[in-house]
Symmetry: C2
Subunit: 441 residues, 2 copies
C-alpha cells in the first residue's frame, strides 16, 4: 500500500459541499440576472496578468497580499480585484468598445492575506461598472442603488439600507476648515464610525487635529440626520462657500431625485454623511449597503463614482461608477447568522428508481421524456434493494421519486412518490410529464 497524502485545502479558501454550492449558485445567479436585466454585458478577464500592469497603482498592503511569481521570464500576479483588470481591459480594447460601457464580471480574486474569520484568500467579487468616454451623465449614479435594491429585494435577506454620500461634500467641507492636507486621514477615521463609534472617532481625530471646536464641527457635520431632504436642506443652510462642496451637494440632491424616479422605495436608501469609503479612488457619489437587522456584517455592497478609471494605461479620460458584492464573504456571513440555511433541496427534480428486474428501455424512455422537458432527472442504478434506494433518495434530498417495477412497465404507468409527505400516486405514462411539470412549477 502506498503512502497516502492527506487531502486538504488551504486555509482561507472556501470549498462547499453540493447542497451548499447549490445555495451559493442560486445567489450568484440572482445577482447575475439582475445585472443583465439592467443591461450590463459579461466580461471574463484572465486570472493571471503581468505584475507591472496589476500593480501600476497598488502599493503597501495590496502589494504584500498579492500572489506574485515568475514563470519563464515573466513576472506574473493573480488578480486581486476586478477593477484593475477592467481598467486594463478598457484601455486595451478602447477602439472596440461602445461607450458608455456597462459590464459585469463575477469572478474569483486572490489576496494572500493572513486568514481570519470571515476573510478569504480566494473569493468571488460581483462587480458592475459603467464607464463613459470623457463624460458620464450623473443619472448613472442613481442606477447603482436601483440595481442594489433589485438584488437584495429579490434575495430576501431582510430589510436593508443603501447609504449614500458624495465625496466632494466631505472634501469641500474639510477644505473650508483648512484641513486640506490631512483630508485623507480624516476620511479614513470617519469611515470607521460604524465600527468604533462617535467617541472613538473623536479620540482618533484628536491625534491629528489640535482644535476641539474643529473636531466638534466635523462630528456635528457627519452626524447631520433626518430625511434625505432634511439633510440636503441642513447642508444648504450651512452656507459653506466652497465650490467643491456645493458641486457635491448639487450632485447628491440630483442623484437622490433620480433614485426616486428609479422607483426605489424610500425606506431603502438614505443620505449618510459618515460614508467615506476608504479608497482614495472615489471622487463623487459613494455607496454602502447594510442589512438593518445585522449591522455587524458591515457593508454588503459598496461602490462609487470615480473621475478616471484608466490613468495608468491611457491618456483618455474615462470616468465611471460601479459597485461590488464580495459574495464569498457575504455567503459565509449569511450562513453564520442563520439569515440563510442550507435547505437541503436537491438540484434534481426527480429520481427514477428502477426495481431489480425491470426493463431499462422503459426507464430510459421515461428519463428521456423528462429531460426533453428540461426536468432535471437522475436514475438510481444498481442491484440494491428498494429500501436501500429509497434511503439514497432521502440522502440526496430529492422531492420526487418515480418507482418503476414490472407492474408499472406492464401497465404503462409511473408510481410517483412525494418524499416530503411520503404519499404516492400512480400516473399514466402518457400524461406523467405534464403532471410532473405542474407539480414542480
Amino acid at each position: 500500500m502506498k503512502n497516502k497524502i492527506q487531502p486538504k485545502t488551504l486555509p482561507g479558501f472556501m470549498e462547499l459541499l453540493p447542497s451548499e454550492q447549490i445555495l451559493f449558485n442560486n445567489i450568484y445567479d440572482t445577482i447575475k440576472r439582475v445585472y443583465e436585466k439592467f443591461g450590463f454585458l459579461p466580461l471574463d478577464t484572465p486570472v493571471i496578468e503581468y505584475s507591472n500592469i496589476l500593480l501600476a497603482k497598488a502599493g503597501g498592503e495590496t502589494e504584500k497580499q498579492i500572489y506574485r511569481f515568475n514563470k519563464g521570464d515573466n513576472d506574473l500576479s493573480l488578480r486581486f480585484d476586478l477593477t484593475v483588470p477592467l481598467s486594463r481591459y478598457v484601455s486595451q480594447h478602447f477602439q472596440d468598445i461602445t461607450f458608455p460601457f456597462k459590464r459585469y464580471q463575477m469572478s474569483k480574486v486572490f489576496r494572500g492575506e493572513r486568514p481570519q474569520k470571515g476573510r478569504y484568500r480566494e473569493f468571488y467579487q460581483c462587480d458592475i461598472d459603467i464607464i463613459g468616454n470623457q463624460t458620464l451623465p450623473l443619472i448613472y449614479d442613481a442606477e447603482m442603488p436601483a440595481v442594489i435594491y433589485e438584488i437584495f429585494k429579490t434575495l430576501s435577506f431582510g430589510p436593508f439600507i443603501i447609504r449614500i454620500n458624495n465625496r466632494k461634500i466631505l472634501n469641500g467641507f474639510f477644505d473650508s476648515l483648512n484641513l486640506t492636507d490631512i483630508k485623507t486621514d480624516i476620511l479614513r477615521i470617519i469611515d470607521k464610525i460604524d465600527k468604533i463609534g462617535k467617541e472613538e472617532v473623536k479620540k482618533e481625530l484628536k491625534k491629528i487635529i489640535d482644535d476641539d471646536n474643529c473636531i466638534n464641527s466635523i462630528i456635528n457635520f457627519i452626524t447631520i440626520d433626518g430625511s434625505n431632504y432634511d439633510i440636503i436642506n441642513s447642508l444648504r443652510k450651512l452656507n459653506i462657500d466652497n465650490e467643491e462642496y456645493n458641486c457635491g451637494l448639487n450632485e447628491l440632491e440630483e442623484v437622490i431625485k433620480y433614485i426616486k424616479l428609479y422607483q426605489v422605495e424610500e425606506e431603502y436608501y438614505k443620505i449618510d454623511l459618515t460614508i467615506a469609503r476608504g479608497l482614495d479612488y472615489y471622487t463623487g457619489t459613494v455607496y454602502e449597503t447594510n442589512l438593518k437587522e445585522y449591522p455587524n456584517l458591515g457593508s454588503i455592497c459598496s461602490g462609487g463614482r470615480y473621475d478616471n478609471l484608466t490613468e495608468y494605461y491611457t491618456d483618455e479620460k474615462l470616468p465611471g461608477v460601479g459597485i461590488s458584492i464580495g459574495l464569498t464573504r457575504l455567503f459565509s456571513q449569511l450562513l453564520q447568522e442563520n439569515i440563510i440555511s442550507i435547505n437541503k433541496k436537491s438540484l434534481i427534480d426527480i429520481l427514477i428508481i428502477p426495481m431489480d428486474d425491470v426493463d431499462y428501455s422503459y426507464v430510459l424512455n421515461l428519463a428521456k421524456k423528462l429531460r426533453d422537458n428540461d426536468i432535471k432527472t437522475d436514475i438510481c442504478y444498481g442491484n440494491k434493494s428498494l429500501k436501500h434506494k429509497m434511503k439514497y433518495a432521502s440522502k440526496i434530498n430529492v422531492k420526487y421519486v418515480a418507482i418503476i417495477g414490472t407492474d408499472e412497465v406492464n401497465n404503462e404507468t409511473v408510481m410517483l412518490k412525494d418524499m416530503t409527505n411520503s404519499t404516492q400516486q400512480e400516473y399514466k405514462l402518457s400524461d406523467f410529464v405534464d403532471k410532473l411539470l405542474t407539480l414542480i412549477s
Copy 2:
C-alpha cells in the same frame, strides 16, 4: 503627464469582447444546462492548491507546465485540470458525499506551456464525473455518450460522431500477442492514427516491435470496421483466449446496448478500436467525439472509465467514469473554422432612448415595468442628438429601440423601432410590455 503602462494580456490567455463573450457564455450555459438535466451537481474547487496534493501523480510534462510558487511557507500550484481536485475533494469529503456522486465543474485550469496556435495557458474545462463507492454499474458508461449527444445536438455544430472503445480489449489483445511490456507505448502510437495515418503508425510500431506479422495483426485489429454489431462479432470470432480481452468485449457490447436504450441516434456513436486515450488513467470504456465535417479539430469531448480515482489520498476504492470538454480551445476552433460566428446579437432586449427634454419619470417607469418582466433593458442617457443615440443603438446591435419624446409622454405611448428592418410602430404604454414579450419570445 505620467508614463503610461501599455495595457496587454499574456500570450495564451483568451480575452473576449462582449459580443464574443455572449456567444461563449451561450455555449457554456448550454453545456451546464445539459449536465444539470442529467442530474449532475455543481462543484467549485479552489484555483490554488498545495503542490504536493496537485502533483501527487503528475510528472514529466505536467510538472514542467504547472504554475507553481511559494507564498509564505507554502508550496502552491494552480490547478492544471479538474480531475486531480475532484480526486482530492472526494477523498477529503468522503463522509459527507452520497455515492454514486455525480458532479460537474466548469472552471478555468492553468498550464504554462509554450503557447501555440489553438493552445491556451488558461482555459475552461467542462467536466462531469460519476464516482461510485467500491463499485459503479456499467450502465453509467452509457450515460456519458447520452450527455455528449444531447449537448452537441443542442449546440448544432453539425454532424458529429462519438467514438467508443474499451481499454481492456486493447490490453487483452496486446497481452495475447505477448506485448504486455510495451503495451503503453503501443497505445500511445495507435492513439495518433487519426493525425499521422496508418502507414506512419506502422513505421512507429516497427521501432519497438521487430515482427512484421505482429505489426500487421495490430493494424488489422484496430482497423476492424463495420456496424457496431459487426465489430463486436468480428472481435468475438477472433476467439482470443484472454480474460481481460473477453471482459472488455462483454463490457463494450453491453455499453453499446445501453446507449441505444438512452435513445442516442445510431449514426452518432460508433465503436472505434483505434481510440486508446493517451492517459494511462483509463481502465475500461473510452470516448472521443469528432465533428464529422471537421476531423482536423481532433476530439472535442473525451473521457472514459477509471478503476480508482483517489488512490493517492485514500484507501477507499472509488471507480468512476467521466468526460471533459476543453471549451476555450473548442470555442477558438469553432470561430476559426466559421462553424460559429459572432452574430453581434446584443444581450440586451431593448434600448430606451429618451429625447432631450423628456420627463425621466416616464422613461424610468417604463424601464421598471420591462425589467420587472425580465426584459433586459438599457437606457441611453445624455444630451446627444437622436441621430447620435440611434448610432449608439446600432453599434451595440440591439434589436428593439423604444423612443420616448414629449409626444409619447403626453399620449402615454411608446414608439418602438425594430432595428433589423428600420420599421417603427407606436404602442399604448399600458399594453407595451405584453406586446414586446410576444415580439422577443
